[in-house]
């Protein structure tokens, strides 16, 4: 089994994301996650930079790497051209591939996300679409959204959308074959294998929780 560090190094986003950090803290200063969570991208760069396997494993098993909101504001500012946001991508991928993600509360949520967003891609060709945004789980969408969904096609068509209809336009139903192409791409490029890794984690969790 290759070391975590070497696995990280295989991910191009790692080499793109972290050459040498000088600890100036500019990333943390602009980081919206740092403004909300007890989170410090600079610290993560430091940790990874030291390359200690144990530290890395703890990182992959921990909550921290899941705090980043991927706004990539850090990329604009780093005087060394590092991108903590990319580094996070690499870490999260490894955490899921290696199964470490199930050890953290935030990590486990990936299972839910995968089944929701991931599957939606292959089923509809969209990451999100109106019917996914159920008012029950999206109270912040407000009364207007409840109303919009009630109106459904009427409202959307009035605004020039093709609301789940055949043919062109916004929210159209995907043409035959399109979803197969998407699936083929996921198959070919390891997307599906990656999802299997996430599901394996889910399995493991079930086993662990069984009495």
């Amino acid at each position: 089994m290759a070391s975590l560090l070497s696995q990280l190094k295989d991910d191009i986003r790692f080499s793109e994301g972290l050459s040498a950090c000088m600890n100036c803290g500019i990333c943390t200063a602009v980081c919206p996650a740092a403004a909300y969570f007890d989170y410090d991208p600079r610290r993560i760069c430091q940790l990874v930079q030291t390359g200690d396997e144990q530290d890395l494993e703890n990182l992959l098993k921990g909550e921290e790497i899941w705090m980043c909101g991927q706004c990539l504001s850090c990329k604009a500012r780093c005087p060394r051209g590092n991108v903590p946001g990319y580094l996070i991508q690499a870490l999260r991928k490894l955490s899921q591939q290696s199964g470490h993600f199930i050890h953290s509360r935030e990590g486990r949520k990936q299972i839910r996300l995968k089944r929701r967003i991931g599957h939606s891609i292959l089923e509809t060709g969209y990451c999100v679409h109106p019917q996914m945004v159920e008012p029950e789980t999206h109270p912040e969408q407000g009364p207007v959204w409840v109303w919009a969904l009630e109106q459904g096609a009427d409202l959307y068509r009035r605004c020039g959308s093709n609301y789940y209809g055949e043919g062109e336009g916004g929210l159209r139903k995907m043409a035959p074959g399109v979803l197969d192409e998407l699936e083929a791409i996921f198959e070919e490029t390891g997307g599906l294998r990656f999802w299997e890794a996430i599901e394996r984690g889910a399995e493991e969790l079930k086993l662990n929780t069984e009495p």
């Binding site: 403004a35 969570f37 912040e140």
Partner: protein, 112 residues
């Protein structure tokens, strides 16, 4: 329409606000032991700290947090110091750490 239960809440910005003036009790400490100002956070104190081997006590951090106005936390942590004075012996800036710690510990809410 009634207010819905959103299932999440907002939190204030975690960022320290340096514009906020130093708390009076912090000023008292800084005036009672002026050498605190000389701290350059080199970490020597933490390196030699006797208590540091058992609990996350690091004087230079106390100084930073004191400036940040987190007096309760500073006081609580300062109480862990054993006053052995190793840090003071090695501090390159000659901060009177023991006196500073005594003053900081007094910031903690009185013990029941």
């Amino acid at each position: 329409m009634p207010k819905p239960d959103f299932g999440f809440a907002f939190a204030p910005n975690r960022a320290l606000d340096l514009s906020a003036p130093l708390l009076p009790e912090v000023q008292v400490v800084l005036e009672a032991e002026p050498s605190i100002r000389a701290c350059m956070a080199c970490g020597q104190c933490a390196a030699v700290c006797t208590a540091g081997a058992f609990t996350p006590l690091a004087f230079y951090r106390l100084v930073l947090e004191l400036r940040g106005g987190d007096v309760a936390a500073v006081g609580e942590r300062a109480r862990h110091c054993m006053l052995c004075g190793k840090c003071q012996m090695t501090c390159p800036r000659g901060v009177n750490i023991r006196n500073a710690v005594l003053l900081m510990a007094a910031l903690a809410p009185p013990k029941p």
